[in-house]
Symmetry: C2
Subunit: 237 residues, 2 copies
Amino acid sequence: MNLILLSKEDLTGARVVITGRRHKHILEFLKPVAGSQLCVGLVNGKIGLGRVIAIDGRSVEMEVLFYKDPPRPVPGTLIIAMPRPLVFNRLLGHIAALGIKKIILIHSKRVEKSYWKSPVLKEENIKTQLTLGLEQAKDTIMPEVLRRMKFKPFAEDELPGIIKGTNAFIAHPESPADVLPRCVKGAFTLAIGPEGGFLPDEVLAFERAGCKCVNLGARILRVETAVVAALGRMTYG
Amino acid sequence: MNLILLSKEDLTGARVVITGRRHKHILEFLKPVAGSQLCVGLVNGKIGLGRVIAIDGRSVEMEVLFYKDPPRPVPGTLIIAMPRPLVFNRLLGHIAALGIKKIILIHSKRVEKSYWKSPVLKEENIKTQLTLGLEQAKDTIMPEVLRRMKFKPFAEDELPGIIKGTNAFIAHPESPADVLPRCVKGAFTLAIGPEGGFLPDEVLAFERAGCKCVNLGARILRVETAVVAALGRMTYG
């Protein structure tokens, strides 16, 4: 935790009393004393400093001041076929840390239907995983996670609007097309399929909507590797 | 498993009989019948096809022909401070899949000494994790994993020789320097520190050896995210 993410509900004026997970982490790893200054941030707001007033085994009390903008959001939308639940959880952390603010989970024929019933998709879990990613990255802007469980209406009716005005790519292993470019400027949309890849007619639906089919090199990557490696090309600097 | 990785010991002329993990995977996921063709590769050798001669609950027998070079190795050396064992295991898979062929694990003051005693560092485990990565990526060239448990002799005596003739970077969060470039051509060396980062005198030792200090954007990334995102910028296309 490089930043303690606070919500408006945590605050009473400029005072905050923290219990639970964040308190435990602060006590164990940051080990502050009265007077210590910790990096804090307000969900969807500014970053600042919290001066510790009191800390004990139950809570930590701080006086906080927010004064600095969080890092600039990455202007990209990530579309991923719903991955295996464990991978999904790790991906939320990676994606939040990399600064992506819009994630659309979609269905595809190779996505197991049971994945959509996994507890990892509960709002509370998604918020926790994203919070951990933001706290790691020293960011405050909470990503939005949408789910679209019907491929066709998503691809035909919604996708053209989503990619409008963006550099839009669908990554498809072993596609004979170009490799995902390294120097994309401005807004982008990136779609990454399930393990085994999108089916040919699904790729075609993305292409019809205006996405460019690209590969991620000569090697076939797992979803987790593919998402992080591809975003690494597009999200900073 | 997009490729079945075979060793010379598996072969009797052009015949191979597979049991164990690979057999189980073939039976469960690839579900071949007699006559089916599967993608195979020879460790550190060519890629080819295996024609299934017989398959049952105990083994699969194939006739194999190797005829195609594996993907070109990525001309990069990755230096990482020994990560948490679980993260290390996942990283081996990511790194092998991304085509890196030389990994040097080093000590740093922020690396817990107990990590060096973890069973994940046993040769057999390392080979298994790397094999899974190669099988995923359809590659055959086994990466080399070295370990250097003393920072100073590594940085002072060995590092200058390792980075000679390469574009050499040390990634350091929040370093005021440039961001890791996207368009590195040719051989490279990339060093990534432990959670919490290298200490200032460790960064200095890398700089003295000739590494350029770069950051990975405005956000602080976990080791796993950082390694894959950074390699994504440098390893394909």
